[in-house]
């Protein structure tokens, strides 16, 4: 029983990370109908920037406690990610807003490659170590163990998601975002500037990616230039699973995907009598995706995309 609990906790941690990243994808898709393939790589740049910042701060002020370094790292990563994201939007996506569907998609792939190359040049190809900033001793919860870092991931993700839901449903900005997502032309008639809203959407998504990036490298203690691409893909899967464009959907989709991967890897061997083992764990995400898209294309909670003829 404690194994099941442990796997559930593992899945919750993983899912929280996916949810944070998925939110960025889903919000951008909601307003632009675009899969921002480069989102995972924005996350990576934030993570590496945070690592550099933490290294510098620790060198300059060795007495700083670990948790403060973590917070400062996140604060350093956010502007980097936001700036990068806005830059990409301005240079690569805005000119293609009215181009045929394929163009921005292909451009996004190209941008992703460019960002990875940039990261390779700045930080090198080797795996970098992220220091242990929070206490390492694991806590015990009914037979399962949970480190402080993982607990922070779960709590932080939950807080952020709650905050985002509040922002989107209860503030003026949130209303403007929902209006633009619904129909940008009519929204502009109502005094909303779609360009500004799109910029804000990218910015929020990027900030979330920054947090996700720092939490990922904190949990796994490594960072490198390729660390963002695969989590990015899986997070997009999560966003689609929950219902693209739907913020609550991204959260639910992320958690569900994390749980599926964790439980799948843990139990697939037993379930199939050893024929399929944890070597197939990566395909779960994709099989789930295909299943959802075929059986319930609008996702678990229903999609919310712009009304485009």
């Amino acid at each position: 029983m404690d194994t099941l609990l442990q796997q559930l906790l593992n899945g919750l941690v993983l899912g929280s990370l996916y949810a944070l990243i998925a939110l960025g994808y889903t919000m951008v898709y909601g307003v632009l109908n675009l899969i921002n393939f480069a989102h995972g790589d924005v996350l990576m740049v934030g993570a590496l920037a945070a690592l550099s910042a933490i290294g510098y701060l620790h060198g300059a002020w060795p007495g700083l406690p670990g948790w403060s370094l973590l917070i400062l790292g996140i604060l350093a990563a956010i502007p980097v990610c936001v700036a990068l994201s806005l830059l990409i939007e301005r240079i690569a996506y805005r000119p293609l807003r009215h181009a045929p569907r394929l163009a921005p998609l292909i451009t996004a792939i190209g941008v992703s490659i460019l960002i990875q190359t940039f990261a390779m040049l700045v930080w090198g190809r080797n795996y970098l170590t992220f220091p242990q900033l929070l206490p390492e001793a694991p806590m015990h919860i009914g037979g399962a163990t949970l480190t402080v870092t993982k607990a922070v991931v779960i709590v932080l993700a939950a807080l952020i998601m709650a905050g985002l839901l509040w922002l989107v449903n209860r503030t003026r900005l949130g209303r403007a975002m929902r209006a633009t997502a619904e129909n940008p032309r009519v929204a502009s008639l109502m005094g909303v500037s779609p360009d500004s809203v799109i910029a804000v959407t990218f910015a929020i998504g990027a900030a979330l990616a920054a947090v996700a990036g720092v939490m990922i490298e904190s949990t796994y203690s490594v960072a490198h230039f390729y660390m963002g691409f695969i989590p990015g893909l899986k997070a997009f899967t999560a966003a689609v699973l929950g219902g693209i464009g739907n913020i609550a959907g991204a959260m639910v989709g992320g958690i569900v995907l994390g749980l599926i991967e964790s439980l799948g890897a843990g139990y697939i061997g037993d379930l199939t009598g050893g024929v399929f083992g944890s070597n197939y764990q990566d395909v779960f995400a994709f099989i789930v995706l295909c299943g959802v898209l075929i059986l319930r294309p609008s996702g678990l909670l229903g999609e919310r995309v712009a009304d485009r003829a």
Partner: protein, 385 residues
């Protein structure tokens, strides 16, 4: 369409012009006849630092031989020349590099670095009768293809896996073992051998799990392993994967030793794993440099020549070069086919130990050394054979 056609012509002419600018390898001014030895390694890409190291080992050997007067065959004295190619650690690029070396007229080749590159390239060398001595390819099937030209100067994964299993059973005295591999040719091969030898020695393999060489979350599989209460976790893969794995084992309360192969047995593991590093016991194919009798001397000369310390396999590529030269001397002439015939009888004491080959081209009695981690450093334990 005038514009695109112009573009097409310009581009093709440009490419051909660039190709023609390939630096010529003619030794116009040299009087002395030359024997070319090829070196194929990844000089760009993720493991460029290891590939460059391989090439440096060859270069050092060749420079030493030339400084001592070159090779005397009959009444002619030959100078050695190294031809280096970049295989980018990619199978396709590896075959291109191999073809280039063959075209260049090399007598023999030291290379490649990984199995995924050595194996496809070996076909090209075999067809051209060019001896290929690898300093680092450990996959067993490399020498089992039936080619007369494939050799290696390190122990292969069969030997390494056996020694690991033996060590686990007899030295570490564990009973229940869980095995994880990273689904790469190296990881899977090593894990398979370990599993079968471990079972032969009466160990209980309680689980076999898998990951990939790009993954960093092992909590799910480690949780599953934890439920079966192993005494040991054996991981076959590289340090970038095994180090986070070690950490997560500790975080999940799985306080058992981690046994791994040469992919994890380096300072990179210790750096990334941090406090969890002392769970590691690992093997290195061959001897560590410090343990070789002339190892420190080699290290000093290498540092003086290249400005950085030897990485991993340069002592082996160094020895591989000497093995080739030994064969050339016995062949009596710089002829590929003669060298292929002579290579089999190679026998000498190299930097890394006794160099002699079995009927497949594997190193006879290849040694494996065991290490663990103490005080943030690799700590030598024992050597097999």
């Amino acid at each position: 369409m005038p514009v695109p056609r112009r573009a097409l012509w310009t581009v093709s002419l440009l490419l051909l012009a660039l190709a023609a600018c390939k630096p010529s390898s003619q030794d116009a001014a040299s009087q002395q006849p030359v024997i070319k030895i090829g070196s194929a390694a990844p000089l760009t890409g993720e493991i460029a630092h290891l590939g460059k190291d391989n090439e440096n080992g060859v270069r050092m050997a060749i420079d030493e031989i030339n400084a001592a007067g070159g090779i005397k065959l009959g009444d002619k004295t030959y100078r050695l020349e190294m031809v280096g190619e970049d295989d980018k650690a990619d199978p396709r690029e590896g075959t291109l590099a191999a073809q280039k070396l063959v075209d260049e007229g090399v007598i023999a080749v030291v290379g490649h670095l990984n199995s995924g590159t050595s194996i496809p390239a070996s076909r090209i060398y075999a067809e051209a009768n060019v001896v290929q001595v690898s300093p680092s390819t450990t996959r067993a099937s490399y020498t089992l293809q039936g080619f007369k030209t494939t050799y290696r100067v390190v122990a292969n994964d069969n030997q390494q896996g056996s020694v690991l299993a033996d060590f686990a059973a007899n030295s570490m005295k564990v009973k229940r073992v869980a095995i994880v591999d990273d689904r790469t040719p190296y990881g899977q091969g090593l894990a398979d051998v370990f599993e079968s030898v471990a079972k032969d020695k009466g160990l209980d393999v309680i689980g076999r799990e898998f990951t990939t060489n790009k993954a960093n979350d092992f909590n799910a599989i480690l949780t599953k392993i934890r439920a079966s209460k192993p005494d040991l976790v054996m991981f076959a893969g590289m340090d970038a994967t095994s180090a986070p794995l070690a950490r997560q084992m500790r975080e999940l309360g799985l306080k058992v030793p981690l046994l791994s192969g040469d992919g994890s047995c380096d300072p990179g593991f210790i750096r990334i794993a941090g406090d969890a590093a002392d769970a590691l016991t690992c093997s290195i194919a061959g001897q560590a440099l410090e343990k070789m009798s002339k190892g420190e001397d080699f290290s000093k000369r290498y540092q003086a020549k290249f400005g950085s310390p030897p990485q991993q396999y340069s002592p082996y590529s160094y020895d591989a070069t000497f093995a080739i030269v030994d064969a050339i001397k016995r062949a009596g002439k710089p002829d590929r086919v003669a060298v292929v015939e002579a290579m089999h009888g190679t026998r000498f004491e190299g930097l890394t130990g006794h160099i002699e080959f079995d009927e497949h081209g594997d190193l006879k009695n290849g040694t494996i050394s065991m290490y663990n981690v103490r005080d943030g450093k690799l700590n030598y334990l024992s050597t097999s054979n």
